[in-house]
Symmetry: C2
Subunit: 223 residues, 2 copies
DNA sequence: GTCTATAAATCGATAGAC
DNA sequence: GTCTATCGATTTATAGAC
């Protein structure tokens, strides 16, 4: 389906400019020199196009991050490399990042197909905590997990079934926490909440983000 | 200006349903039984209306959070109360939360007036770290701040000038980090990234959020 | 200060010819 | 499979009467 590819490429190119909520089937058609009605041969609705773009963005982001960090043996360096790679991807493709992690597009309901690709990067973080044996390096948190979080983690199994590995409760809970932080911090930067807060230069912003990754690594006992 | 109040009230009521990007001057006018053109007597453009709503939302959220937590003397309890109050406000008013912390509205550029009200809640967190003397309870982080973050914090003074207090670099850097986490985690929950991850019940979601607040408090040496 | 009327533009989706 | 033409709806914003 080469034409379907062309459609998603054109749509992604549009996302460089207009933001997910304003993505328009007609504009995609214009860019391809087709009639807007012709698009509907390949995609049944705008929502279906959005789903394709979302899954593609999750996969692209994970591909880039994995490729950049897979060979980093040292756990702490890999941890930081993953965070930094996420930030770089987001800075390169801010609208696609917003498509994934910004406000949901009004009226759009994500189908189940988007879940699995969304777990790929957080699974990398959880995997590091597993390798680092977070239960033994930071026993206080594991005790907290066992004490107050056990019932809320009923869906670890659902999540885990999407990956090839088994995760401990502690690695899962803390990895998710780190993931929320990474995305939250990138969102702050991308969505303008760092103006007049952290220095406005890219170097300063990166330094602050790296500081956060270091603090997280310290917290989670990654050597 | 009672009519201007009525306009913002009607606009906020619309935000209960439609999401910031779809907020329409005409729909506000409809709700008030006015002609859409009449609105432009009070508000010069849709962007100006958005600015009013953003400032109002920052202030409402901060008012609610302050009122709920001001009297909590114990630092750790106040820390958690602030986080939980933020989450509750967001669950009550998801579209207004998205207006503040979701994707920026396309084509809208926030003016400087929105900065000061946006700092009110993070200042509460920074204040707690200051009171808890985070430099002495977690000296490792303070060393990290001094070592690698000093240049990036050039704007602490800008921020501080908006508040009545002086903040230490460490309290500022770590408070901002906690703030990014609180907003990141709430965004995850609100924007649908916890489906099939943490248990779907409200109690489970709250338990996980509370777990995160506890871990943050531990990390930052709040007794 | 509020109205009617309108300009000028956008959009998603479908019908039906070819 | 791609087109033209169209339905039916939305929007911001302005002109000008009252």
């Amino acid at each position: 389906m080469a034409i379907l590819d062309a459609i998603t490429v054109a749509a992604n190119q549009q996302l460089l400019e207009v933001g997910p909520a304003d993505l328009s089937v007609r504009a995609v058609a214009r860019e391809l020199g087709m009639a807007s009605s012709a698009i509907y041969r390949y995609v049944s609705s705008r929502d279906e196009l959005l789903t394709l773009l979302i899954i593609g963005a999750f996969d692209d982001m994970a591909d880039v991050v994995e490729a950049k960090t897979r060979r980093v043996a040292d756990l702490r360096r890999r941890w930081k490399a993953i965070g930094l790679a996420c930030r770089e991807w987001a800075l390169d493709e801010p609208q696609r990042f917003a498509l994934l992690y910004g406000s949901p597009v009004a009226g759009y309901a994500a189908p189940q197909d988007t879940i699995a690709p969304a777990t790929r990067i957080p699974n990398l973080l959880i995997g590091i905590l597993q390798e680092a044996k977070v239960e033994t390096t930071v026993p206080a948190f594991s005790a907290r997990v066992a004490r107050s979080l056990k019932p809320a983690l009923s869906d670890v199994n659902t999540w885990a079934s999407l990956s090839t590995r088994d995760f401990s409760d502690s690695a899962f809970a803390l990895g998710l926490m780190a993931w929320a932080h990474v995305i939250g911090s990138i969102s702050f930067e991308l969505f303008g909440h760092r103006h007049n807060v952290v220095g406005d230069s890219m170097a300063d912003r990166r330094a602050y983000f790296e500081f956060e990754l270091d603090v997280l690594a310290d917290l989670m006992g990654i050597d």
